[in-house]
């Protein structure tokens, strides 16, 4: 049965047709105005049947009918006079029947029109569904993409509610998120402003559904509320919102409750809507999970860094505190051992010497602690000068021969006389040799033999040594080698690599009884590497060990290049995009450009010109900042220079966004050229490093 509207000016015909359409529900109109009014409101009819005979202005009326109807795909059937010539109005019709009306034909026409309308309706509905789905897929795609781009929890929630809003068109949505029991956020998004009591009610609603999760002491005042209102108008949502249809989904992260989200819609949600809503919420949980993990890791990292810092502080404080009383002990011992008390019995002397020896040992352990924490950060301080290694070997022998005598160890030095003076930190190199010899003294049994030997070694021979090393690191043709040999128990092959690690002492034989910080060789290796050299060990079990320190013979220029390259690539490896290279001029105070530089530090222009070399960094996207500093220069001025560079660099976006600065100090050798040359050279090096 179809719903038919029938319009005719002829009452008799109306009755007749109504009779013919007894299987349909028929509404009848005879007056044009009431008919048009009805059409404007009607949304349920299937067919309009219009008797065009006896109409005054047929075309006009037919057109008005066509454009008044609100129903989509509504069929209009005209009853026409077969003999009438002007049939223009027929273009407004879906079909027509002629007078005299045949009941069968009329019914068939109506039926086929209804069939057409139903098919069209179905098609339109499918189409609409398809486009909604496409739109939602698009929203989902965009939402998922945005979700993947964030690790911020509140931002993720926002992206999710945004996606829900776009595809569900809700009136009000709230989400409650537990970061932890003391950090609970309720965010409300609404089309219209909401009344104060509705806000309170939403809080209660959210809390009541999950009251178990709240701390007993949590009050609703502790919940942080974020509101987003779309339209600022007078209309306000009140408690009536709770009569709307709702959809609710919990947000679970790692199987733990994380929050809830509830949406309110004035019209009913369809079942696909609900499914859709749940899909979107689920999509958000994966990145939320990552965000939570990320936060946990970040926190853990911070804690670790904090602990590391505390450890360092502790070490530093303990070391300094220990050193003061130890020094007092040593000085007291020196007085006792000096000429002040000539009548000291020999046996007393023996014990005083014991005190001295052991306090020296404690001091060296403390020094190792301090050095190793510094060495780890690459922060051991160095002081390079041109010097010869032979006197260092002598000095070590002098300092340690007492210890060797006590163990009745034959301790000798063999120095080659063709050793050139090179650019080294004499104190540090002496420290390395001391560490090697103390190590040998520890492990060599009574009556053994220890030798310090200095010699030159060609790069070719160095490469053939039986230790695994990076041949790329052989950078000079000639090396100065210090070899410390002992007749100790030797070290097994598998232990050799570990010897240079932190807190490592080779176990077995008599070694456990040997004291020491276990840091000496570790520090020695760091120092060797800073000198671009090598430290290695060759050993035969039961015969003894040979420790080698090899330092390349470099010209001042080569050394400068080495260190600069090293620092720049360090900055690159750490993904710190900014290298601050502080070129430290040593003993260059007479050179006028340096004096000028320092004198004009307060002049912004000079400073900027020196720091800001635009042509350079637009080319490489990397930045290099310079300052020159004489080691005799006042530390305050130096700090001022560094601070100015940092301030300047901080204006840069990337540094603001958390990229760290790499600060390096490069000592430029005594025979350096002028400032221009140094800058040119560092630029060239930087480019080389960056371009691989």
């Amino acid at each position: 049965m179809s719903k038919v509207i029938l319009f005719s000016k002829n009452n008799k015909k109306l009755d007749k047709i109504t009779e013919m359409l007894k299987h349909h529900s028929v509404s009848v109109f005879t007056d044009e105005e009431t008919f048009f009014d009805y059409l404007k409101k009607d949304i349920t009819s299937d067919i309009i049947l219009v008797d065009t005979i006896n109409l005054n202005d047929t075309v006009n009326i037919c057109r008005t009918i066509k454009f008044s109807t609100q129903v989509k795909n509504l069929s209009i059937i005209f009853i026409v006079d077969k003999n009438k010539n002007n049939k223009d109005f027929l273009k407004y019709a879906s079909a027509y029947v002629c007078e005299p009306i045949n009941e069968d034909i009329l019914n068939a026409t109506i039926n086929s029109s209804v069939l057409t309308k139903n098919s069209l309706d179905e098609l339109a509905e499918n189409n609409a569904e398809l486009s909604t789905s496409l739109y939602r897929l698009d929203v989902l795609n965009k939402t998922v993409t945005s979700l993947a781009g964030s690790l911020d929890k509140s931002e993720l929630i926002e992206i999710m509610t945004d996606g829900i809003e776009k595809s569900l068109s809700y009136q009000l949505c709230y989400s409650l998120v537990f970061n932890d029991p003391t950090d609970i956020t309720l965010s409300i998004q609404s089309v219209h402003p909401i009344s104060a009591r509705l806000e309170e009610a939403i809080k209660f609603r959210a809390m009541l559904s999950y009251k178990d999760l709240f701390n007993i002491h949590t009050t609703k005042e502790e919940i942080k509320v974020i509101k987003k209102i779309k339209r600022k108008n007078d209309f306000e949502y009140d408690l009536n919102v709770f009569n709307f249809d709702t959809a609710l989904a919990p947000i679970n992260v790692k199987n733990k409750f994380f929050g809830i989200i509830e949406v309110f819609k004035e019209k009913e949600f369809k079942s696909e809507d609900i499914r859709w809503f749940q899909t979107l919420v689920k999509q958000a949980t994966f990145p939320l999970q990552s965000a939570v993990l990320y936060e946990e890791i970040k926190e853990q990292n911070n804690k670790l860094e904090e602990m590391e810092k505390k450890k360092e502080e502790f070490f530093s404080i303990v070391s300094h505190e220990l050193r003061t009383p130890l020094t007092a002990i040593q000085n007291a011992v020196k007085i006792l051992l000096g000429n002040a008390f000539p009548n000291m019995p020999d046996r007393a002397n023996l014990f005083i010497k014991m005190i001295e020896r052991n306090s020296i040992r404690i001091l060296s352990i403390i020094q190792d602690w301090l050095d190793s924490t510094q060495a780890e950060k690459g922060k051991l301080s160095y002081n390079f000068t041109i010097a010869n290694i032979n006197p260092l070997a002598d000095s070590v022998k002098q300092n340690l021969s007492n210890l060797a005598d006590e163990k009745n160890i034959e301790f000798t030095t063999e120095k080659a006389d063709n050793i050139p003076s090179i650019y080294i930190d004499t104190q540090r190199i002496e420290q390395v040799i001391t560490n090697l010899v103390s190590n040998a003294l520890k492990y060599t049994p009574n009556g053994g033999k220890i030798t310090i030997l200095t010699q030159m070694m060609g790069a070719e021979i160095l490469k053939e040594r039986p230790f695994s090393m990076n041949l790329d690191r052989v950078i000079a043709d000639e090396y100065i080698v210090v070899k410390v040999s002992d007749t100790g128990p030797g070290i097994a092959k598998e232990d050799i690599v570990r010897v240079f690690e932190k807190f490592e002492q080779v176990k077995g034989t008599l070694s456990r009884s040997v004291g020491g910080s276990g840091l000496g060789l570790y520090i020695a290796k760091q120092i060797a590497e800073v000198h671009n050299g090598f430290l290695w060990l060759e050993s035969i079990i039961n015969k003894g060990s040979d420790f080698y320190l090899a330092i390349p013979v470099l010209t001042a220029d080569e050394r400068f290049e080495m260190q600069l390259k090293h620092d720049i690539s360090n900055a690159n490896n750490d993904k710190k995009s900014f290298g601050i290279i502080t070129l430290c001029e040593k003993n260059h105070s007479e050179k006028t450009y340096l004096k000028e530089f320092i004198n004009k530090l307060n002049n912004e222009n000079i400073f900027k010109r020196t720091v800001d070399s635009k042509s350079f960094y637009t080319e490489t996207k990397e930045r290099l900042y310079y300052s020159f500093y004489d080691t005799n220069m006042n530390i305050q001025i130096f700090n001022f220079v560094v601070q100015r560079i940092i301030d300047y660099a901080k204006k840069d976006e990337e540094i603001k966004n958390g990229k760290k600065l790499y600060l390096s100090q490069v000592y430029y050798p005594d025979d350096a050229g002028d400032a221009e040359e140094i800058i040119k050279k560092s630029k060239k090096l930087l480019k080389e490093v960056i371009n691989g």
Partner: protein
């Protein structure tokens, strides 16, 4: 007449050992245990040399040194400053305050004696 040396350090053990070694070398030693005391004693006894610690209560060694070196009456008294190694960076700051020499802790007392001798003979 024996040359006068003023030792200023809050660590009594350090003062004691320095005093002993210097007295053995025939110097007349005076001691003070904080910066203010040291400053007053310096003005009172006009020593020939001052051994001055940096980290001290009431007034630190830098300040004592600065106050003496900026006063024409005392500016010629040599000052040997004792610093901890961690304060090495302060060294240059200290030199501005006029100390003649720096000796880092822990130090060898025989070395200190040598330095004192180099100023006083």
């Amino acid at each position: 007449m024996a040359k006068k040396v003023l030792i200023v350090d809050d660590e009594e053990d350090i003062v004691e050992t320095l005093k002993f070694i210097l007295e053995t070398a025939n110097y007349e030693c005076h001691c003070a245990y904080d910066g203010e005391q040291g400053l007053n004693k310096a003005k009172e006894i006009m020593p020939d040399l001052i051994i001055l610690d940096v980290m001290m209560p009431i007034m630190n060694g830098y300040k004592v040194s600065r106050l003496l070196k900026f006063d024409t009456r005392y500016k010629d008294i040599p000052i040997l400053m004792l610093t901890a190694r961690s304060q090495e960076k302060d060294k240059e700051l200290g030199e501005e305050t006029g100390a003649n020499e720096y000796i880092t802790k822990p130090f060898d007392i025989n070395f200190v004696l040598e330095r004192v001798k180099s100023y006083l003979g």
